[in-house]
């Protein structure tokens, strides 16, 4: 069973992402801050990370960089998961090198398809 780490500080967004993923047969791990997200990623090496961008403490982009910089997690695909949709926000996220971009509110079909694609190509 594929394991997805959700890094998200909003309780309801977390619940929604978790419930969808579990209903689709994934195992989920959770972290509510960027720091915690990095720790859990390193400790558990999930198959995929779903990363909120606007987080307290280090933001999602910084947490993503730390995950990429660590040899044990550098190949894990990371999806940026954010409600910020302005072009500047988007280009910052794209420039950082995330594997995909999912916007909030969740588009259910796109959400499920993107996660499926990235967990299937991962080795």
């Amino acid at each position: 069973m594929k394991v997805v780490l959700i890094v998200e500080d909003n309780e309801k967004n977390m619940k929604l992402a978790r419930d969808i993923l579990q209903a689709k047969g994934y195992t989920t791990l959770e972290a509510v801050t960027g720091e915690e997200g990095v720790q859990v990623a390193i400790a558990q090496t999930p198959d995929l990370v779903l990363m909120d961008i606007q987080l307290l403490g280090i933001n999602g982009i910084e947490a993503f960089k730390q995950i990429r910089a660590n040899p044990s997690t550098q190949t894990i695909p990371v999806i940026a998961f954010t409600a910020s949709v302005t072009p500047t926000d988007r280009s910052q996220v794209t420039a950082a090198g995330f594997d995909a971009f999912l916007s909030k509110p969740i588009d259910l079909k796109e959400f499920v398809a993107t996660i499926k694609r990235l967990t299937e190509t991962a080795v």
Binding site: N13, L16, K104, P105, I106
Partner: protein
């Protein structure tokens, strides 16, 4: 601010959609009906918030253009693809006439498409089944790129034609389905065109149809 406004809507839209999709079991007819109302009202509110945020950004002078050089014909067909399904559902014919000299343009491509899409979605919305939509792009003598959308729809009375570009103005008496649209589409479209140093116009005959046109200075 946008983050704070959108976050509660994410929950409303997201949770109602997973229920509608039967991710957690079957629903009865009423539940399905009400959930669809919650979902579409949530979407509507989100569109409204996005439009208002865009407008206030423009008014504060904070809206920046992301300029790039792109192929106008590709951008037009891109926008048309997004509307095609809705047009087909209503038996509305969709055609495009591109003058050969229409090629590349330097502009904000996303906004360019949004301008056209706003014209197109209005044209589909206000045209009865079996009508016809024509998109036309030309280069005018004074070096203006001109793009227009004509429809065979309900048309707009002369006294209402200026009002349609104002915020929250929905004209005519046809407007029964209040849930459809926010009345901000053309107001935003107008700002987007003006940010490009362009202008917008409408020609319309009540009961026969409308043509909305925007022109922007040609730049490559």
């Amino acid at each position: 601010m946008s983050h704070e406004l959108r976050t509660p809507l994410n929950a409303i839209i997201g949770f109602s959609e997973v229920l509608i999709e039967r991710m957690f079991g079957e629903l009865n007819e009423k539940q399905d009906d009400y959930l669809k109302d919650i979902f579409s009202s949530g979407k509507h509110l989100l569109a409204l918030i996005n439009d208002i945020l865009d407008l206030s950004k423009i008014e504060a002078g904070c809206m920046e253009l992301e300029l790039s050089t792109f192929e106008v014909p590709a951008a037009i067909s891109n926008a048309m693809i997004l509307i095609r399904e809705r047009a087909t559902q209503h038996g509305i014919d969709l055609v495009c006439h591109l003058a050969p000299e229409v090629g590349e343009q330097r502009a904000d491509e996303r906004k360019f498409k949004q301008i056209l899409l706003n014209f197109l979605s209005n044209a589909v919305k206000f045209t009865p089944d079996g009508g016809k939509l024509e998109v036309r792009a030309t280069v005018e003598e004074d070096n203006l790129l001109s793009v227009s959308v004509s429809d065979t729809g309900i048309g707009i009375a002369p006294e209402d034609q200026a009002a349609v570009f104002e915020e929250f103005r929905q004209v005519g008496h046809h407007y029964t389905n209040k849930n459809e649209g926010t009345g901000l589409g053309l107001a935003l479209t107008k700002r987007f065109v003006e940010l490009h140093g362009g202008a917008l116009s409408v020609r319309s005959v009540l009961g026969e149809g409308s043509t909305f046109t925007f022109t922007i200075p040609r730049q490559v």
